[in-house]
Amino acid sequence: MQDRMIARAKELLRDGTVNRVLGWKAGEFVYDVTPAVFTTEAELDRDFVYNAFTAANLSKYLIKESKKEGRILAFLKPCDSYSFAQLMKEHRINRENVYIIGIESWGKADIGKIREKGITGITGIEEKDGDFIISTVYRETHTVKKYDVYLEKCKNCKSKKIVVFDELLGAQGERTGSPRFDEVEKLEKMTPDERFAFWRNELSRCIRCNACRNVCPACSCETCVFDNANSGVENKAAASSFEENLFHIIRAYHVAGRCTDCGECSRVCPQGIPLHLLNRKFIKDMNELYGEYQAGEDTDAPHPVINYAPDDCEPSVIYSRGGDAR
């Protein structure tokens, strides 16, 4: 796949369709790839990489990149294409300035999960069919099933469909029937006290680095209210741990209906907080209360929370669903 991508990118640079390419750049190791803009064929040959660790969603970068001079080629995985389409819907992207090649993706690996298996001193990771063959500085070779170490967002992939593209490399996919709401259902079955304790515990690890917010394609405010000294709620340090926890809840509310469930928030959290569960709860609720809706899938579909319909649920639905007043 990587070779085909590089070859096509070079063609498009050469024939003037685009003047630069947004992709991933190889790092020190197999896994520390960095999103990067390439402007020459030599750079593509030297540094462009597409492998099991190119998980970073490139769509958010296109807010800025699409405002620059000339057209940029962007390689978008299915999940990235949902984010892109959602940003288009929000008029954040200048579509004419982006040439999209949709690329199939069967899942990306989580280096953290590989480390959790006790594998240390990783010097190489090779892909062989359904396995990763991992070599270490300790002269060991480990064979790990790829699926076992997939990122959460890939294990619970919502769709292999590329929703917006100018051309495709590889096969077009479809919505999957992934069990992505299973964890949410478990939380719903808890008592309010148990659920409160669950989130207090998970969020207690937050170091407020803002990685979740800054990576989130739906968090595209020019200046976040929590960074704005004039907002009165600027929040470099929270007054209490509860206020800290609320940051995540407020953020989840703010992206409700716009979050495509790309899973980047949980991927980047240095403390391993399952932030995606907050967003998935909102998605699940909207599906149940306003009808099936997948943000990013259809740029014309009305946003369930912004649009009014006479048969919308009443706020009291909380009580009829068994919730209590807290």
Binding site: T34, I207, A211, K236, A237
Partner: protein
């Protein structure tokens, strides 16, 4: 040198925690983390804690003082309390060295009394690394992960925990544990030390050196064109800063409690858009400038001001945690390449 069987570890921890608070890295969700000891808590097998150990001396937030007004008088309340004695067990060589880097900042005249208070009451028991990660490069800064610094240095070898006191505080700690310890021979850990040093040299970053940074002057680094491409993908989050054992920048803020004004300080990150924001505005308006600040601070400004000591200990946390895979090693390698290459 002393030793005790690893099966005695719980008794040892129990004894320490009778008199002072004992913190040790334990497994938890999202990785290992330093936590107060309680019976049954065991030392993690992981190489290092997700967050660095600096938190114990330089916490993420702390109240400095409180102000209250009544009529025309302003009352300032010093809310400091004498810190209780505590022991940090299982600190790796990189994090131990980070304390001496923080000392240069917080203990130089005038000493920061908040930091000093904690530093004086803390005893550091380091633990030698046996299986360094591919992201480790502490050796680039003259740190020996096989024989770490600390008030007490410890090794786990062949079913025993070996302990060597290296300071007065360390001697004192081992004395209180003397009935749990037996004499040991330095030779018992020699093999491990040699083995670990071999692994360190064989690591992918085994040969990396930052000394080349000193060959160009400050402005040459500052104006390097590479900062633009290096910082291009930076999200401007603070993950690198907040897991870093040597990042030391803080902000001082006020919080209105309704009855008083609480003056507090909290970690700051040069990656943030409001870093060093002042009345006139911000001196670093682009992410490139903020990104540059982080690496210039560690690799140029800090050594310039501290006899050549770099503000990095090679713990590799930023290599593991950056959401977009950018880190100090990539920066160093990019900057060191000569312009004509």
């Amino acid at each position: 040198m002393k030793k005790t069987a690893l099966s005695n570890l719980d008794a040892l921890f129990g004894r320490i925690s009778e008199k002072e608070t004992l913190y040790l890295p334990v497994d938890g969700k999202g990785g290992a983390a330093f936590a107060p000891y309680a019976k049954g808590k065991t030392l993690t097998e992981k190489l290092n804690a997700n967050r660095s150990a600096k938190d114990f001396f330089f916490p993420q937030t702390e109240t400095l003082y409180e102000e209250r007004t009544s009529g025309k008088t302003l009352e300032i309340e010093d809310v400091r309390e004498e810190c209780g004695d505590f022991v940090l067990f299982g600190v790796r060589a990189c994090d131990v060295r980070s304390f001496s880097i923080l000392d240069k900042v917080f203990l130089s005249d005038p000493a920061d009394s908040y930091y000093q208070n904690r530093r004086e009451h803390g005893t550091v028991v380091s633990l030698a690394c046996e299986r360094p990660e591919e992201t480790c490069f502490c050796h680039a800064f003259g740190i020996d992960a096989a024989a770490p610094e600390g008030d007490v240095s410890a090794w786990k070898e062949e079913g025993y925990l070996y302990l060597r006191a290296q300071s007065e505080k360390g001697e004192k700690l081992l004395q209180t544990l003397s009935d749990l310890l037996e004499d040991a021979d330095e030779k018992d850990v020699e093999n491990q030390i040699l083995r670990t040093r071999y692994y360190l040299s064989a690591l992918p970053l085994g040969k990396i050196s930052f000394e080349g940074m000193k060959e160009k002057d400050l402005l040459a680094h500052f104006h390097n064109e590479k900062w633009k491409s290096l910082s291009e993908a930076c999200l401007g989050c603070g993950a690198c800063t907040f897991v870093c054992p040597t990042c030391q920048c803080y902000d001082v803020r006020e919080f209105d409690t309704g009855k008083s004004v609480r003056k507090f300080r909290c970690w700051d990150s040069c990656m943030y858009s409001d870093f060093t924001l002042m009345a006139h505005g911000n001196s670093r308006n682009s992410q490139m400038e903020r990104f540059r600040q982080r690496f210039m601070h560690k690799l140029v400004y800090f050594p310039n001001n501290n006899d050549g000591t770099f503000g990095c200990v090679g713990c590799g946390r930023c290599l593991q945690q950056c959401p977009i895979g950018m880190n100090i090693v990539k920066v160093e390698k990019a900057l060191e390449v000569r312009d004509d290459e």
